[in-house]
Amino acid sequence: MNTFFFVIYPYLAFFIFCVGFVYRYKQTGFQVSSLSSQFLESRTLYWGVMLFHWGIMVVFLGHLLAFLFPKGQLLWNTHPIRLILLEVTGFTFGLLVFVGLIFLILRRFISKKVFTVTSKMDFALEFLLLAQVILGCWIAVGYRWGSSWFAADLSPYLWSLVLFQPKIKAVSAMPYVIQFHIIGAFTILLLIPFTRLVHFLVAPFHYIWRPYQRVMWNWDPKKVRSAETVWTVTRPRNN
């Protein structure tokens, strides 16, 4: 049982995530969109979307740092004030995510226009995220101090998955709440290609570097004019 959930399932989720995303991007590129509903309802969205996004970015960054630098994390936590500061920050942003998500879910039900553009997958995803956030906050309060035992026990587990030498002894012994939180995380990973979550994989960071204006030629005009090369030019990839 534990082998399935903590060894097979993570690999399966990651595999489906990779294949699913490549498939979706290549085959149904049209569907890769954030599917914003701001056009139909803007005011409630502001609170929901701002709290949710900024919250989840900080929370995710916290998990990521603890995963990447467990030793640094433990070193940071050696001083109680720094430990408490970190835990309080994480918990606060977790709460922000929770509040934001509540706004977003209620908005989907209250605004009739937004309701019509809500798919079953959107509801499934929202409740999954809600469950995950509630579990996360519960863990933060109930199983102290998460930032320390995550670095000590969970980071090695995740690294063991990355290195294809799964060691699940520590995970198997963890309380159910934490186990559910882990399974939930892999479920979300699995679902990314099949939900609107794809939008964060195409976050437009390249915008920072590109020049503002974009002009495209369907054909290289200089080559087209030349009689010698007119039949040999290939159409450049620009779309």
Partner: protein
């Protein structure tokens, strides 16, 4: 000199009768589908009026277009988008119009009329929202302000009235003096497009061959910045597919040698389409020039297609001979450069729009004033049996424009960045051509007088004749000089637009692409 070609347009507002045929032609081909019901890539507005979406010209609300960077020397930045603002506001765009700023699309439950059981009262077809399918109270619709000059809710809220004094505004809306004109609008296919610059995904681009600005539907990720950035509000968000869409200048038709649907169907024949050559190296400089010379700098970008140096540079850049030939015969070049009759709409947005308007003379000129008994009228002024006089007398020509029913200030706010002299110059030319034709056909104006009037307006009889011909007699091929399609360039030539009716219009030939999960 970096010569590029652009398929550009002129709309002759004096000829627009506000019939909305253009809008219908466009809607039938491109936006007759779910999520696009509210979009009018082509729409016709009554001016003065608030337009569509409501008060789109008021950039204090929508933050569209470019503005001079504060403190920066000859630099411009996007008002409500751009790299910093765009990415910071990516979760929630504070300046984005919502559906109520356009209108909630609706239909009627016609089936209720047919299926109603027999009863004492007539059955009614209730309006239902095309988004939710529920009954709605219609508060707005397309052309809701049509012909409503003088009304509190629409005309008096026109953003262009801002710097007119209350007295001037009052004079404009006196019942007997009231006037309006129509302003058909499509995407301007700008040289310095704000939508392109604002798109974080880089989905929007300007085509090098003909300057058409397009949104790649496969790359658009619904970050919605183009909706804010376009100061003309001509980039629309499709709430169903989660993609932005805009006027494509019917490029499949242009490539096949047809005029765009809105232009082809124009009943008043107000629309002209032709190639303009421009110098791409000077775009940035022109867009960042001072307010006073903005219009002139933009017009200076346009190159003379008969100048040998320009032709050589154009060939160097791979512009085909057929395109050059079209540029030399372009009606747009004649209106904009040769005769200097047309101006861009709201040049102060600094996007360098490539759709030019010949300002309307009729609502301006037809002044009405109280008839004074025994007043000596000019012999060609029509004397109505009325206390009010519809005065088109030529004697007071130059004076009448200053005291026009439409204050010059208002027209200048629309077309010349507030430069009243520039606007006056165009109106005088239009009037001079009329006087010239009156001399020719009615004969009650002497040749001497007509020549003098033409000279004062900066025209010659030959030019006046050409303006008259292209304005009033022009046939289809005179109005639309579309370069022959280059087989090796045309990507949509083999398609008939009818086949892609109801599609997004961007090359999804098989079916309308489905919304994401």
């Amino acid at each position: 000199m970096n010569v590029r070609s652009q398929v550009s347009m002129v709309f002759h507002l004096d000829k627009c009768i506000g019939c909305h045929t253009c809008s219908i032609a466009c809607k039938n081909i491109w936006t007759d589908r779910k999520g696009a019901e509210y979009m009018w890539w082509n729409n016709v507005e009554t001016k003065p009026g608030t337009g569509y979406p409501t008060k789109w010209e008021d950039q204090s609300i929508y933050k569209g277009g470019w503005q001079k960077t504060e403190g920066g020397e000859n630099e411009i930045s996007l008002r409500g988008a751009g790299k910093r603002k765009g990415l910071l506001n990516i979760f929630h765009n504070p300046n984005m119009p919502v559906i109520d700023d356009y209108y909630e699309p609706f239909t009627y439950k016609y089936l209720d009329l047919i299926e109603s059981p027999s009863m004492d009262d007539q059955p009614t077809a209730r309006p239902v929202s095309l988004i939710t399918g529920r009954p709605i109270d219609i508060k707005m619709g397309p052309n809701w302000d049509d012909d409503l000059s003088g009304t509190q809710d629409f005309a008096r809220k026109d953003p262009n009235l801002e710097n007119l004094s209350p007295a001037e505004q009052e004079a404009m809306f006196q019942l007997e003096r009231m006037a309006f004109f129509y302003l058909p609008r499509i995407c301007n296919h700008c040289l310095n497009p704000a939508c392109v610059a604002s798109c974080p995904s880089g989905a929007i681009y300007k085509r090098g061959e003909d300057g058409v600005v397009l949104i790649n539907q496969n790359v658009c990720r619904a970050w919605r910045m183009c909706v804010t950035a376009c100061p003309y509000k001509k980039s629309y968000y499709n709430w169903n597919t989660g993609k932005s869409e805009k006027c494509i200048l019917c490029y499949p038709r242009i490539e096949a040698g047809y005029a765009p649907a809105c232009m082809h169907s124009c009943v008043g024949r107000i629309r002209y389409l032709g190639v303009l050559l421009y110098d791409a190296d000077r775009i940035e400089q022109a867009a960042a020039s001072d307010d006073s010379e903005l219009v002139q700098k933009q017009l200076d970008l346009l190159l003379d297609p008969c100048d040998p140096a320009v032709i050589a540079a154009a060939k160097e850049n791979g512009i085909a001979d057929s395109t050059l030939h079209a540029a030399q015969n372009s009606p747009v070049y004649k209106f904009v450069k040769e005769w200097k009759l047309a101006l861009p709409l709201h040049p102060e947005f600094r996007t360098l729009p490539m759709l030019f308007y010949v300002p309307p003379l009729l609502p301006v000129m037809a002044t009405i004033r109280e008839k004074i008994k025994d007043q000596k009228l000019h012999d060609i002024a029509k004397d109505w049996e009325d206390t009010w006089l519809y005065d088109t007398s030529t004697q007071e020509l130059w004076g009448a424009i200053d005291q026009a029913r439409f204050p010059l200030k208002y027209m200048a706010n629309l077309f010349s960045n507030g430069d009243q002299n520039l606007m006056k110059e165009k109106l005088l030319k239009l009037m001079a051509v009329r006087i010239y034709r009156r001399h020719k056909t009615v004969g009650d104006v002497t040749e001497e007088k007509s020549n003098q009037v033409l000279k004062e307006a900066g025209l010659t009889p030959k030019m006046a004749e050409a303006i008259y011909a292209l304005t009033s007699l022009a046939k289809f091929d005179d109005r639309f000089v579309i370069p022959a399609a280059h087989r090796e360039q045309a990507i949509e030539m083999m398609e008939f637009t009818g086949d892609v009716k109801g599609s997004t219009g961007f090359g999804f030939k098989d079916q309308t692409a489905k919304r994401g999960l």
